[in-house]
Amino acid sequence: MEVKELICINCPMGCPLTVTIDGESLSVTGNTCPRGEDYAKKEVLSPTRIVTSSVRVSGGSIARVSVKTKTDIPKGKIFDVMKEIRAAHVDAPVQMGDVVIADCAGTGVDVIATKSVGHA
């Protein structure tokens, strides 16, 4: 039996979680919502993260548009995703929710704009 202490990162509450791994079964305590249990299981079996960054904009009112992976991606893919984000470039105008990179780094997850940027 193995016990892992984690801190839930799903929301700013930061609940302290205890995951007990007993062969095939996992049990989670310390969570205050169902997301905590899901997170703990995922964090032990296949950790994921939402990646947020920004992408260069041409002709926009500001120089960068903020972006995020639409859903979480495998933790091990963070730098692959960042490589594509850092190489990306869009033209103004950009609407919040626009797909900036489709299927980023083979994760199957789109990178989308998290703010709107109008023309300069």
Partner: protein, 429 residues
């Protein structure tokens, strides 16, 4: 002189939420004054996720969270002025602002809501020796440069202070290809949220050195390195523990200070601990009809709580305006017999917001927010009416970096009508 029922100073998360709440409470004549060229305040540069789970039950980035409130302001057609700086507020609610279109304008407000936010403690507030080379930034300035203006501020960084913005920037710089060598924190615990330590430092193997500080800054034109040393319990550097880190960038994440020059100008008393105005349970300052909310009142960790607090200020300001209008028409009796009960922070509780309760007009429940002075394990948070224990709640961990709250109810206070003071304290057993 132009008149508006409610004038809101600041169009960040607090001002936006206050405006929407005041409108929903039935006030149509509202004006938001914002010094930036967009609404949304600091959220515009907080491009990381983690906002809004309490408010919207989903996880948003800062700009997305701001957009939700901006959309409501637009929908409600609440007027706002951008690129407008408020120069002065008087005790009797005259607000003077300046912008390019109108010049200098003074307006009379029925109620004022202070929502100016906070600013970062600068290098000058720290006793760091050395020259003033380029490459030393407050964490929030670096955040703005990277996320909005598009400059990578450096390639090798050391971060002093483990406040949330510093932690977020450690990850941000790492993702953009910079090397963050270490985060040094003078206190024996981090000032940031636990989840940020996990998500921003642990994920990337960035060491956090507690009880460490920067004792020397090297470089004349551009920063070339810093010396970090361990500190003793008096925060004095321990000789022999110095370690040199070469770096071109030093980020300072050493605290936020509510921005209260305007409040002072209005003759509003400020709290020594929070650096924000003293307020009652309606978030009204000592100047009648002037309310405060968000980071100008006390620095928050979570924007969700800023929005909640600001909505309350908005509703209360709306009620005040309506009551005042009604009084003028009916000349009804003044609120005699209103009792003012101070809230006392004791035994590990550093401060409370509000600082006092007024029983007259008190809502059914009042949320009292506070911070503790140190990291405590397995302690109770207890509420006393005078010497009578009213409630206690056991907490596994309390930390100064995480705001706590207790709820006081009108019903329980009514059972102790002679209460002269309410004390909130931590207790071991």
């Amino acid at each position: 002189m132009q008149y508006h029922d409610i004038v809101i100073v600041g169009g960040g998360p607090a001002g936006l939420s206050a405006a929407v709440a005041a409108r929903k409470a039935g006030i149509s004549d509202i004006l938001i004054l914002e010094r930036d060229n967009v609404l949304g305040g600091i959220l515009n540069q907080c491009i990381h996720n983690g906002f809004g789970l309490h408010t919207f039950k989903e996880e948003l980035t800062g700009p997305e969270y701001a957009a939700r409130y901006i959309a409501q302001v637009e929908e409600e057609k609440i007027p706002y002025r951008l690129n407008t700086i408020v120069a002065d507020i008087t005790h009797d609610r005259r607000v003077t602002y300046i912008n390019r279109e109108e010049g200098l304008v003074t307006i009379q407000a029925g109620a004022v809501i202070l929502a100016m936010g906070c600013r970062e403690r600068p290098r000058g507030a720290l006793n760091t020796p050395g020259y003033r080379p380029a490459g030393i930034y407050s964490a929030g300035t670096a955040q703005r440069l990277m996320n909005i203006e598009g400059y990578l501020v450096g390639k090798e960084a050391v971060i002093l202070g483990s406040g949330d913005i510093g932690l977020i920037m450690a990850r941000r710089m790492t993702l953009e290809g910079a090397k963050v060598k270490v985060v040094a924190e003078i206190m024996p615990y981090s000032g940031g949220l636990k989840r940020n330590i996990v998500q921003c430092l642990d994920d990337y193997g960035i060491p956090l050195k507690l009880s460490h500080t920067v004792v020397d800054i090297h470089g004349k034109d551009r920063l070339t390195g810093v010396t970090i040393a361990e500190v003793d319990e008096n925060k004095d550097p321990i000789p022999g523990t110095e370690e040199y880190y070469s770096c071109d960038t030093l980020l300072l994440s050493v605290g936020l200070i509510p921005e209260n020059e305007l409040s002072k100008g209005a003759g509003i008393s400020l709290n020594r601990v929070t650096s924000g105005p003293n307020v009652n349970d309606r978030l009204e300052t000592e100047a009648e009809g002037i309310y405060a909310c968000g980071n100008v009142l006390h620095v928050h960790d979570l924007v969700d709580f800023v929005s909640q607090e600001a909505a309350l200020a908005g509703e209360n300001a709306a009620e005040y305006v309506k009551r005042k209008t009604a009084r003028m028409e009916e000349k009804s009796a003044a609120e005699d017999g209103a009792r003012k009960i101070p809230l006392i922070a004791a035994d590990g509780v550093r401060y409370t917001v509000p600082q006092f309760l007024e029983t007259d007009g008190m809502r059914d429940s009042v949320t009292v927010r506070f911070r503790v002075a140190d990291v405590y394990k397995d302690r109770y948070i207890s509420v006393y009416y005078d010497d009578q224990l009213i409630s206690r709640k056991k907490k596994k961990v309390l930390a100064p970096g995480e705001m706590e709250q207790v709820v006081l109810t009108k019903k329980s206070l009514a059972e102790y009508p002679r209460t002269e003071r309410i004390t909130i304290r931590t207790e071991v057993e």
